[in-house]
């Protein structure tokens, strides 16, 4: 086992007590004196020309302090990807989805603000709608944006290796399809914003965001103020899972209203607005053709995908690339072709969500592997084991895998779930309602490049020793959105400095503290972890140098452990330092008295020598990936991988699905915090299970969401979730701090396909459309029965 005191343990989260007592402060808990309340005017139509906006009645309503539209906000486009700036703060000529923002109001209370919004008169000319992603590119379809010909917002055409060669080598080739639905991340805290401008023109915005840095940039750009005049602070955040990574109109509008009124302004989304704003998972239409040799070796993958991205680009450019690139692993696959297109439609914009872009692609590919295994008469786990990559290999799309516990993870779930007993006959399925299925996954451990082109460090960390001695404060821009990054930073710092967690104070999620690209692409533990470790080591070096100097011993003979300065070269006389410390603290109680110099004394003595002691750390990945177009997406300093087995029980008469157990193993390199790694895995299992079985944003024919609430957008409840077994695999990632890499998103990859494969085992029918509702199962069983009758 490790020699670490704290790392690799189950230390409780540093914010857990505050969250268990109600003391944790989320954005909507904040109040400022004189604060105004904002409301947004959303488009009721999915596609229309704006002929006129009349705000006069709203302006006159008593209590209204400001009404803003595109007249105040301007019409300069902004967005996530610089090549696809396709949004304006408010719509000016057209609305493109039900919910598109047209105006905002600040008033003395929410009631007045909402009433004012209802008094704004907008004249629309309705335009024909594009609601179907599959036909959005067809001739004659209305076009949503001038810049997107045929409504194609992004297109990827990749060819790695030689597909034709792969086709020649294959003994068995099959083509399959899978369609998903738009998802909602369904985090429990609706977005909330509080903005305020001080007397120097500095804009401060508290927001429920995953990416303070990107939001800071977007605010500065869209609101036309210098970057250094914008500060974004992230209080406690009630989950993000992707959609909170992009700057929202709510954030922009609230800041604009604060600038206009000179008062603090707050806006908290209603749950319905969370759905309207969306920026969650796209709808995917995948088609894959995979070839395999008789011995189970994969020979090629030809993959087409259409992504329905809703009205704007958001993070969707990255999404269409990820949908292709992350099939490069975890199996050896020499020949891969990918043609992906992201189209725009008159629905809320889609963006990133846990497992960005790769989840449904992974689901279909893993289903294909099972179907190929069945045709070959081979055990599906055995087929996977024959193809898994090992550490040191590079995928056909030039992703280098520096550590890889894929084989270990797959064997772990196979054995833990007693796969062999439950599914003894290779290639045979049961059709008796009980099923078991397996799948694997592969994911980045931090995006190799920032979303904007830059040589920027991806994160910096500043660790400052208390001038009075005793503890340290870690300052970081990293965003703890519930995943536990603050705890990881505290554990790393405490470990390096030999301190207890209580002596490490974490301040984070604030753009005034440091640059950090934010909580997305499962990057924080690896990247900010590196920077945090470096900052702590910097602090340690300075303290030991100062103390060593005073003691007349080489600093390298000293170490910090258990709150003490430890001499590695025999006993040393530190009485002069203690005397000095005690002299400073006459009348204090609880003074150091033991036989060793404490960190409290040492850090104070070092301050007396050096003044404030500040350590800094920084991280950016080396140049990664190939040189082909779009090669940056999918690159990462390290890759996580995972395997899962799902066991299901299906009522063959009603189609009801009960998931009895999910066993997952994930290679996180090294578990900084064992409990948190399991927590990320279990949360991923839940989200994946919801997506497989029940979650879907549904629209009517006018483009309105018919289930914009948590009653009818169904996420699994405690009764739906089975026992979730999480097995942690540690492959010691050479590019990660202490060997650590991601777990936040990778663990969702195998969930959907393991359930799909289990359902097939239980029913003998394959369903090509998610979610797999009871009705879809019954319909598929009927179709299979009728087909059988026809053939007789």
């Amino acid at each position: 086992m490790s020699d670490y005191k704290l790392l690799n343990t189950r230390a409780p989260r540093v914010d857990a007590v505050d969250k268990a007592t109600g003391r944790a402060v989320y954005t909507d808990d904040l109040k400022r004196s004189g604060m105004l309340y904002a409301a947004l005017l959303h488009s009721p139509l999915a596609h229309a020309r704006i002929l006129n906006i009349d705000t006069s009645r709203a302006q006159k309503l008593p209590g209204v302090k400001a009404v803003v539209t595109h007249h105040e906000a301007g019409i300069e486009p902004y967005g996530v990807s610089p090549a696809r700036y396709d949004e304006t703060i408010f719509c000016h000529d057209r609305v493109r989805y039900v919910g598109d923002e047209i105006a905002a109001v600040a008033a003395v209370d929410l009631d007045t603000a909402l009433q004012a919004v209802s008094l704004i008169k907008v004249d629309f000319e309705e335009l024909p709608l594009v609601l179907d992603g599959l036909t959005a590119m067809d001739e004659g379809q209305p076009q949503l944006h001038e810049m997107y010909e045929k409504n194609i917002c992004a297109e990827v055409n990749w060819h790695f290796g030689d597909i034709e060669q792969g086709r020649k080598e294959a003994d068995l080739i099959r083509t399959d399809r899978l369609t998903s639905k738009m998802q909602d991340a369904a985090f429990l805290e609706p977005q909330s914003v509080l903005a305020e401008v001080d007397s120097h023109g500095n804009l401060t915005m508290w927001s429920s965001t995953q990416a303070p840095h990107y939001v800071q940039r977007t605010l500065a750009m869209a609101l036309k103020i210098p970057l250094h005049k914008v500060r974004v602070i992230k209080p406690a955040v009630g989950g993000g899972f992707g959609p909170k990574a992009s700057c929202s109109t709510g954030e922009l509008a609230t800041c604009l209203l604060a600038m206009k009124t000179g008062k603090p302004v707050k806006l908290t989304f209603d749950r319905e607005q969370v759905f309207l704003h969306s920026r969650a998972r796209h709808q995917f239409f995948h088609t894959m053709t995979t070839g395999i040799k008789k011995d189970g070796t994969l020979s090629f993958l030809e993959h087409q995908c259409i992504l329905d991205g809703g009205a704007y680009a958001s993070f969707g450019i990255a999404t269409v690339y990820y949908a292709g690139s992350l099939l490069g692993g975890p199996y050896r696959l020499k020949n891969m072709k990918y043609d992906g297109r992201r189209v725009v439609t008159n629905k809320p914009a889609c963006g990133a969500q846990r497992g960005h872009g790769a989840v449904i692609a992974r689901a279909l590919f893993e289903v294909q592997l099972d179907r190929l295994a069945e045709e070959l008469g081979m055990d599906p786990i055995e087929l996977r084991l024959r193809n898994v990559m090992e550490a040191g290999e590079t995928t056909c799309n030039e992703l280098f895998v520096s550590s890889f516990g894929m084989r270990e993870a797959l064997e772990a779930v196979r054995d833990s779930a007693t796969w062999r007993q439950k599914r003894s006959q290779a290639g045979r399925i049961r059709r008796n309602g009980k099923g078991i299925g397996a799948a694997c996954g592969f994911f980045v451990s931090g995006a190799g490049y920032p979303i904007y082109r830059s040589q920027t460090y991806h994160c910096t960390v500043i660790t400052k020793v208390d001038d009075v001695g005793g503890g340290v404060t870690v300052m970081s821009g990293a965003a703890d959105i519930g995943q536990g990054s603050d705890t990881v930073l505290a554990m790393i710092t405490a470990e390096e400095l030999g301190l207890s967690l209580d002596d490490v104070k974490i301040t984070s999620g604030d753009t005034a503290l440091s640059v950090d690209l934010g909580a997305y692409s499962s990057r924080t533990t690896l990247m900010t972890g590196h920077a945090c470790r470096e900052a702590a080591q910097d602090v340690k070096r300075q303290i030991l140098a100062a103390v060593g100097g005073r003691l007349g011993v080489p600093p390298e003979t000293l170490d910090l452990r258990d709150g003490l300065v430890v001499s590695l070269a025999g006993d040393i006389d530190f009485s002069a330092l203690r005397e000095e410390y005690l002299k400073e603290h006459k009348g204090f109680r609880d003074l150091p008295s033991g036989p060793q110099l404490t960190f409290r004394e040492a850090s104070r003595i070092a301050f007396l020598e050096l003044g404030s002691i500040v350590g800094t750390g920084k991280y950016k990945p080396p140049k990664l990936g190939g040189s082909f177009k779009g090669a940056t997406v999918g690159t990462s300093p390290a890759f996580g991988c995972s395997a899962q087995i799902a066991e299901v029980n299906i009522d063959l008469e009603t189609g009801e699905v009960t998931v009895d157990r999910i066993t997952g193993a994930h290679d996180c390199g090294f578990a900084i915090n064992m409990t948190q790694v399991e927590g990320q895995m279990q949360g991923s299992m839940m989200m994946g299970m919801g997506e497989a079985l029940m979650e879907q944003v549904q629209y009517d024919q006018k483009g309105r969401i018919v289930n914009a609430n948590l009653a009818e957008y169904k996420i699994p409840t405690s009764l739906d979730m089975p026992h979730l077994e999480a097995i942690v695999v540690e492959s010691n990632e050479p590019h990660g701090p202490y060997g650590a890499k991601e777990v936040g998103e990778g663990a969702i990859m195998p969930v959907i396909p393991s359930i799909l494969n289990a359902i097939y085992d239980a029913t003998g029918v394959r369903i090509e459309e998610l979610p797999i509702t009871p009705e879809r199962i019954i319909a598929a069983l009927h179709a299979a029965k009728n087909a059988l009758l026809d053939s007789k």
């Binding site: 488009s43 039900v98 018919v706 289930n707 609430n709 009653a711 009764l719 739906d720």
Partner: protein, 344 residues
């Protein structure tokens, strides 16, 4: 969520409540019991905007329309015709915000479960669904009702929601109303001019609509005596195991002449397969007088499927619902017959 302005009246007695309802009927008044449906329906819309002929949108005071979905929480609101908009079905009274709510929280006399003189059961309308779920007496003698509450909404909904509310809301999928119809209950309506008793199955007339008069309050639900050889059962079919609106709900009540049959009486009530919960009318003719064996039950289940007229909506297709009525009726008849045979 933000609620519109209204005043809340708090009667101390049932008569006072009825008087308040009568007095304010013209200005818009609604009864507030558990609040789990009413307050959701009253909330102000997020999308408010004048739109040229936005058909299907809800008209809101001040002429604005809302695209807020009226998915009242736990019950099905099937479309009148497939392909229609969800919002076309809004109850008339929701088109305008009420000026008054009459909150019943002080009417403790409507919160009880007791035996009636003839051995039946009388449940006060304000009895919460959780209280019904936890009553051993109900589970023993009126199992379908207990099972109806088992998966209704969530524990939090059941703690707050009332039996009366579930019935008066008149949602087609109401999980407590369906077994109430299946068990042949009578509803006591108290009005300014007196009290009347009506059969539960005739009470709802359309989604959200009932025969209740503006000054009337549902005060009590009266379940008939559960005979010696009788058994009942309810099943809620849905996509997840809590917080759900039923795709189909089926309640069955069987009375046998003796253990093993023949059938003396039978009632099958169906939820979410019509504009209101319905009674499967052709089942008794198929089953009464017969030994409830596999063939008889299968025939009865088929008859139940023939009685329902579901529509396609976002919760399920008509095709699937008809299939499920047959499957579930068959299963529940078998269970109820077993229960009838073992009743002491």
């Amino acid at each position: 969520m933000i609620l519109p302005q209204f005043d809340v009246l708090v009667p101390e007695t049932v008569n006072e409540a009825c008087a308040m309802l009568a007095e304010h009927a013209e200005h818009g008044v609604r009864v507030l019991a558990g609040g789990t449906d009413l307050l959701v329906n009253l909330r102000r819309p997020i999308i408010t905007q004048h739109v040229p002929r936005c058909d299907g949108c809800r008209t809101h005071p001040e002429g604005a329309v809302s695209s807020t979905i009226d998915c009242t929480m736990w019950e099905s609101e099937p479309l009148m015709a497939s392909g229609g908009s969800l919002r076309t079905l809004l109850r008339d009274q929701e088109k305008t915000s009420p000026e008054f709510l009459v909150s019943l929280h002080k009417l403790k006399e409507l919160k009880n479960i007791r035996r009636s003189d003839d051995g039946g059961l009388r449940i006060g309308a304000l009895t919460t669904l959780a209280e019904i779920q936890r009553s051993p007496e109900i589970r023993q003698d009126y199992t379908a009702l207990a099972e109806g509450t088992d998966n209704l909404g969530s524990p939090l909904v059941r703690n707050r929601g009332t039996l009366g509310g579930n019935i008066v809301n008149a949602r087609p999928a109401a999980d407590a109303a369906v077994p109430t119809i299946g068990l042949g209950a009578m509803l006591t309506l108290h009005g300014k001019s007196g009290t009347r008793s009506v059969p539960a199955e005739g009470f709802p007339t359309a989604p959200g609509k009932t025969i209740i008069e503006p000054d009337e309050l549902l005060t009590e639900i009266v379940y008939p005596l559960s005979p010696t050889y009788s058994g009942s059962a309810y099943y809620k079919l849905a996509n997840r195991k809590a917080l759900e609106i039923s795709t189909v709900g089926v309640a069955v009540w069987v009375i046998l002449e003796k253990p093993g049959g023949p059938v003396a009486d039978v009632r099958v009530a169906l939820g979410a397969v019509g504009p209101t919960p319905i009674l499967a009318k052709s089942v008794p003719a198929v089953l009464i007088g017969k030994v409830p064996d596999k063939a008889a039950i299968a025939e009865a289940a088929e008859a139940a499927a023939g009685d329902c007229r579901p529509i396609d909506d976002h919760r399920g297709s008509a095709w699937y619902r008809v299939q499920m009525v047959e499957v579930l009726t068959g299963r529940l008849l078998k269970i109820a017959v077993e229960r009838a045979g073992t009743t002491t």
